[in-house]
């Protein structure tokens, strides 16, 4: 077992874990933050994307122990059902989801894109930057619209 301490959505947590515990497993099974999804478990789909020290990463391809001392933000940490994050609101407005399985990862990746590329995002940029997020339902069109709208809404946050 190995000890790990990290800040998750603003709160410090310490736990003793088997070193092979993935960050995704740690969030879901130890902290019961089940908003982070595991779609493929082979690093392809992006359903598991969370932010570690402000950068998007695939939590299925990161050890929990490697995040010792880090600050982690999951989909639960960005808004509440009453006060959705502007990117969450944009996905709802633009019908950017159907089954919703890919959505937490899409939203965490989308916020990361805005952090890096700003609030005016063209379609080409959004599609390129969502390379690591796969959706089986929507055909991406409304996701792209949602990200563009969410990016603008975040400017007025």
């Amino acid at each position: 077992m190995a000890s790990v301490t990290m800040i998750v959505n603003g709160k410090e947590v310490t736990a003793n874990v088997d070193p092979r515990t993935l960050l995704a497993q740690f969030l879901r099974e130890h902290l019961h933050l089940t908003g982070t999804h595991v779609g493929c478990d082979t690093s392809q789909c992006g359903a598991c994307v969370v932010h570690v020290d402000g950068r998007s990463i695939k939590s299925c391809t990161t050890l929990a122990v490697a995040c010792d001392g880090a600050s982690v933000t999951t989909i639960e940490g960005i808004g509440t059902p009453d006060h959705l994050h502007p990117m969450q609101a944009a996905f709802r407005e633009n019908h950017g989801l159907q089954c919703g399985f890919c959505t937490p990862g899409m939203i965490m990746s989308a916020i990361d894109i805005v952090n890096r590329k700003g609030h005016q995002l063209d379609e080409h940029t959004i599609r390129e930057e969502l390379e690591g997020n796969i959706c089986r339902c929507t055909g991406y069109h409304n996701i792209v619209k949602a990200v563009a709208a969410g990016a603008q809404a975040m400017a007025g946050k």
Partner: protein, 267 residues
């Protein structure tokens, strides 16, 4: 994934000691290759030595006529580095084209080079630019480092600390990605420094990255896309798989090299 013990050394020296004590230990860098391999049980190290907290292993600086990049520097940091963008823009562009943003936020240059995947992007830059791989034990020139697919000159317990890239006068990387995996089916890095032109090819060779003698000979007299007209590359020694035959890859090499030269001249 099989169980392992986890170590988080604070220095390269500690890392080397830990590797010495645990014969089938492995170094963990960004984990973007190693963890998927361990999940599939294709690797089962008894111990992981995580370089994430080892001091002095990441960062980018100019030293004389070289850009020196720490082994733990993430692809995203090379891609957006002002220093790399100024001195070797082709290298920044290459790093920005690896995988997707989340992979670039974790994956490291040291991990990519140590792994020497036959379709990885970085090895072509290291070979074409004639970089030097600096380990905890010695300095290894690129021409001696890559030794066939997934195999390098690194010895047991040897850790890459830095990679030093001589600044070229002209360089560019052009990749023909597989439409599904986005890994290179053929990737060509061309670099011109003084009178020397080097052309390194990734994705195509069944022994991993290699220098194309045919393309280098054609570009020797004149560094110009036209010099590559009519150049034929032999299909023997190239990969044939469900994605492309060796003949197809052989045809692609001068085509992609030509695009790379045009890109290098446009800068």
């Amino acid at each position: 994934m099989y169980a392992f013990s986890y170590h988080s050394p604070k220095t390269v020296r500690q890392a080397a000691t830990l590797l010495g004590k645990n014969p089938d230990a492995k170094v963990l860098a960004g984990g973007q290759t190693l963890l998927p391999t361990m999940k599939q049980r294709l690797a089962s190290p008894s111990a992981l030595v995580d370089l994430g907290k080892a001091e002095g292993m990441s960062g980018i600086e100019v030293k004389g006529r070289n850009v020196v990049i720490g082994a733990m520097t993430r692809h995203a940091d090379v891609a957006t580095s002002a220093i790399v963008g100024e001195a070797i823009p082709a290298l920044a562009a290459l790093a920005g084209g690896i995988g997707d943003p989340a992979v670039r936020n974790r994956g490291t240059i040291g991990g990519s080079i140590a792994n020497n995947d036959p379709a990885a992007d970085y090895p072509s830059a290291v070979l074409a630019l004639g970089a030097t791989i600096i380990t905890n034990k010695r300095k290894i020139p690129a021409d001696q480092f890559f030794q066939g697919m997934f195999s390098t000159a690194l010895e047991e317990g040897e850790v890459i600390v830095k990679v030093s890239f001589p600044i070229p006068s002209k360089a560019a990387y052009e990749k023909f990605p597989n439409p599904a995996s986005r890994y290179a089916m053929v990737g060509v890095f061309v670099a011109k420094k003084g009178s020397e032109t080097r052309v390194a090819v990734t994705g195509a060779g069944s022994d991993g990255v290699f220098r194309s003698a045919e393309c280098e000979a054609a570009l020797k007299a004149r560094f110009n896309p036209k010099s590559l007209d009519g150049v034929k590359v032999k299909a023997s020694g190239l990969n044939s798989d469900i994605h492309a035959s060796s003949e197809y890859r052989a045809h692609l090499i001068p085509v992609i090299a030509k695009r790379a030269v045009a890109k290098a001249m446009a800068k």
